[in-house]
């Protein structure tokens, strides 16, 4: 059976995947970039299902430099920079996985603007998104 690595800060995506995608995928879950990289080092995956927002994650586990982000994008405001890193964490974890050589198809459940999705593809290769938890659409994208 194919393996799906779900990367999220809670359990909603994993619960959904186990409920609707269990026929096709064996589902495992990582809650940070470092945990995902450890799991992938032990056993590879065929596809990634990403949460974008990680607002329940511990700040120390987030990908991204709060100070540098604060300086460049938020006028030195660390609070806003931290919220930004939380809100965009899924994309930043994908960047980490790609840097480590993991090029598997990645799917987000998010209503990305078209241009942003094109940007993500330009940066990270195989990236797709669906606007809502549509099991059939997600399954089709993960199986491509």
């Amino acid at each position: 059976m194919r393996r799906l690595l779900v990367i999220e800060d809670g359990s909603e995506y994993s619960d959904f995947a186990r409920l609707y995608l269990a026929d096709e995928f064996e589902v495992t879950t990582a809650r940070s970039a470092s945990e995902a990289l450890r799991m992938l080092a032990a056993e590879s995956a065929d596809a990634f299902l990403f949460d974008l927002r990680f607002d329940r994650a511990e700040p120390g586990t987030l990908v991204g430099d709060v100070d540098a982000t604060a300086r460049r994008l938020f006028g030195g405001d660390r609070g806003r920079a931290l919220r930004y890193l939380q809100d965009q964490q899924g994309a930043l974890i994908l960047a980490e996985l790609r840097s480590a050589g993991h090029a598997q198809p990645a799917v987000f459940v998010h209503d990305f603007p078209e241009r942003r999705l094109a940007n993500l593809r330009q940066l990270y290769g195989s990236v797709a998104a669906v606007a809502s938890f549509d099991a059939r659409a997600i399954g089709a994208l993960l199986s491509r």
């Binding site: 460049r72 006028g75 806003r80 990305f112 241009r115 940007n119």
Partner: protein, 472 residues
């Protein structure tokens, strides 16, 4: 003398200050102080317009330095009117019209003052030209005695025409007012959001399923009860609607004509009236009443969709050459920044098709402060005095894009990002940080290169359209 007039709070003191010989020491000092005061006054007016704290302090700082340019009485009057300070607004309108009766904005100011207090209408009309009065004959010939009657008739006719024109003159619909008055856009967006959220969403949008079911004759008792509660429970719909319309009129002034000139609001008003009249018929299960309700519901949803589109348009600003030219033009028209002789002011390159989710008025405010600061700084430095503005886009690792508006200059004056955020520089730049914080933006001072001493970069996220059509 000029100083004395100012100390006596003479509201025309500004003119006497400008009259002091600019080549004298006192003249130079007067202009320097006028320039400093002008910045404080403008900031005070801006804060008042935006409802930000510190307006009074900024204005008082200006008062402590030098008299105010009478041209500022008009924006001050408008800001007071928008904040509901009608007595003060009236006072500033009067001062503006007394001191600047021929200003291009004077006709508009007269109208606005007249709307504040109809008794003041006409009082500030321009004086007739001062030609010597003809000598009055002691005993006019019989044919001349018709002249007064003719003149009276002409005056009566003109008055009738003016009254007719006033009665039937239409103001502007909301969308056009927004397009013509960028300074009103934040208020318009707020008012639109209020009427959409409080009335169109909660009382009208929420009953969509019930209205459809009613139209098909399939409405359940729960749906009927829900519909009745939303439409006829609580504050009567007609009063709620009138309240919102009045809020628009009070905040946006007499140029707005929602009741006659704005088709969407006119039809929505009619739809609200129709809904109010249907209460008994709907309760009695009248099928024709259900049809009428469906029509009214559709009209109100159309208004909601139009307002949603307007709100999106208002908050989205294209960052192009036109915008940058407007910023430069406005700054150069100011007293202090207009007097700096520049060797070059270059606009471009500008990345094409770039928009940000910032009210145009606010973006212009931010960029004007950055450009003004750069021009004044190069004016205090040795030549060459050059300024350049450009716009670029940076791709973020999240797939988002940051729009970078950069203002480079040749001033050798020290400026750091920290100094801007800690408000250790001109307060105009401090205002920029407050505005940018609202829009998740940032300002950064970068080291210069290729002949530039430094660059001040404003970064904002690029506005992108989501696949579902909702701005993201």
């Amino acid at each position: 003398m000029a100083e004395e007039l100012w100390r006596r709070r003479d509201f025309d003191a500004h003119r006497s200050w400008l009259a002091v010989d600019p080549n004298s020491r006192q003249g130079r000092e007067a202009r320097r102080r006028l320039s400093r005061a002008d910045q404080r006054y403008r900031e005070g007016v801006r804060r008042l317009e935006r409802g930000e704290p510190g307006a009074r302090d900024a204005l008082l700082e200006g008062v402590a330095i030098a008299p105010m340019d009478p041209a500022l009485y008009l924006p001050l009057a408008r800001a007071c009117r928008a904040r509901g300070l009608e007595v003060r607004a009236e006072d500033y309108y009067k001062k503006f019209l007394r001191l600047r009766p021929d200003h291009p904005q004077a006709p508009a100011a007269r109208l606005e003052l007249g709307a504040l207090d109809p008794e003041l209408q006409g009082i500030f009309e321009p004086e007739p030209s001062q030609t010597p009065a003809p000598a009055v004959p002691i005993r006019p010939p019989p044919s001349v005695s018709l002249v007064p009657a003719f003149a009276a008739g002409a005056i009566a006719f003109a008055a009738a025409v003016a009254l007719f024109a006033r009665l039937f003159r239409r103001g502007l619909p909301l969308a056009r007012l927004a397009a013509e008055s960028p300074e009103l856009q934040p208020s318009i967006a707020y008012l639109v959001s209020s009427v959409r959220h409080e009335l169109l969403k909660h009382r009208i949008g929420a009953i969509g399923d019930a209205v459809r079911a009613l139209g098909k004759g399939e409405a359940t008792a729960e749906q009927r009860a829900f519909l009745a509660a939303r439409l006829y429970g609580g504050e009567p719909l007609v009063l709620a609607w009138r309240g919102h319309v009045r809020a628009f009129e009070r905040a946006l002034g007499p140029r707005l004509d929602l009741r006659r000139a704005d088709r969407g609001f006119r039809e929505a008003g009619r739809a609200i009236g129709r809904i109010a009249a249907l209460e008994r018929a709907l309760a009695a299960g009248d099928a024709r009443a259900a049809e009428r309700l469906a029509w009214a519901h559709r009209k109100l949803l159309e208004l909601d969709a139009d307002l949603a589109a307007l709100a999106t348009r208002l908050v989205r600003t294209t960052v192009d050459e036109v915008l940058l030219e407007e910023v430069v033009r406005e700054v150069r028209s100011e007293y202090a920044a207009g007097r700096v002789e520049l060797d070059a002011l270059v606009i471009g390159p500008v990345a094409p098709g770039v928009s940000v989710e910032v009210f145009r008025f606010d973006l212009v405010l931010v960029l004007k402060n950055v450009v003004r600061n750069a021009i004044l700084a190069v004016g205090r430095s040795a030549p060459p005095r050059r300024i350049a503005l450009d716009v670029g886009v940076e791709l973020e690792p999240t797939g988002e894009e940051a729009v970078r508006v950069r203002v480079r200059d040749t001033s050798t004056e020290a400026l750091t990002t920290e100094a801007i955020y800690e408000r250790r520089v001109d307060r105009g730049l401090g205002l920029v940080t407050a505005a940018l914080t609202r829009y998740d933006g940032a300002i950064e001072v970068e080291a210069g290169s290729q002949g530039w001493a430094k660059g001040v970069t404003v970064r904002l996220f690029r506005a992108l359209q989501s696949s579902s059509g909702v701005a993201s």
